[in-house]
Symmetry: C2
Subunit: 134 residues, 2 copies
DNA sequence: TAACAAATTAATAATTATTATCTTTATTGT
DNA sequence: ACAATAAAGATAATAATTATTAATTTGTTA
């Protein structure tokens, strides 16, 4: 029997997730790994991302322009997502106030497993570019 | 020239959005309105939801199981989403702490337009059902 | 090491939500 | 009512994701 041991490609996907701050989509990971793993299949990336998410190794941050984006940093922290360029920024955990970070249950509603705090707006990069084009 | 006046069907879609606490998807709205508007087309629902969102009349809450869900209540408030049944609950605005509700900009990152606070977990309804099935 | 069993993968087809197109219909201002 | 414009229906096209299936890899055991 095979114990829970990562296959080569699964490990490569997870390692890439850990090494980047890009909050990648399946497509992005596929493109990055393809040169090193020429026989990599896109389906494998999708399959493993879902699997890693189920195992609690990564989590979904948001769906941007129809594509799911993931994060391998499991310490709770908020995100900022630029509505122009779609880039996802990590924010320091201090933006998650203690009161919110500690809520475990909402009476009459349910038990909380994951808290997602996302700020949507326009990032400074895009603001700058907008100004340039006037 | 046509002023910003809602067409019959657009009005019906918006009215339905206002009258429900379901945080509907396009499909749900289509199913609900179809009996009263037999010639309604699903494309029309998608088109108008996007339009209403651009006009700031409604906003997207989350993508659940691949489908976008909307909310017509524009007062900032958090949501609870059950990961089992997918139901979206409105939470009172007090769960949005003042400090967070008032952040307008994050230095070095960008300007905030929308804050999204979502708690994911298991709702009491589903917890109860799970227990029943043991 | 050889043979077997189970997990994983590539390749591809199938799904599904959403968007685009294009022709027809409805609506509005004059 | 009439012309101009907006909106809608029907349907085709996209695009992301999932399912399928046969082949390959990997681990296990004799």
């Amino acid at each position: 029997m095979r114990i829970q041991n990562y296959s080569r490609k699964r490990q490569a996907i997870y390692d890439l997730m850990l090494s980047t701050s890009e909050h990648p989509s399946a497509e992005w990971i596929y493109t990055m790994l393809k040169p090193d793993y020429p026989d990599l299949s896109l389906g494998t990336v999708y399959r493993n991302l879902k699997l890693l998410e189920e195992n609690g190794a990564i989590r979904s941050v948001a769906v941007i322009e129809g594509s799911e984006h993931y994060d391998a940093i499991m310490t709770p922290h908020p995100h900022f997502i630029c509505r122009l360029c779609g880039k996802i920024y990590d924010l320091p955990a201090k933006f998650l106030l203690p009161e919110q970070a500690n809520i475990k249950r909402i009476r009459g509603v349910g038990k909380i497993e994951i808290t997602s705090l996302i700020y949507y707006g326009c990032c400074e990069e895009c603001t700058k570019n907008d100004t340039d084009n006037v």
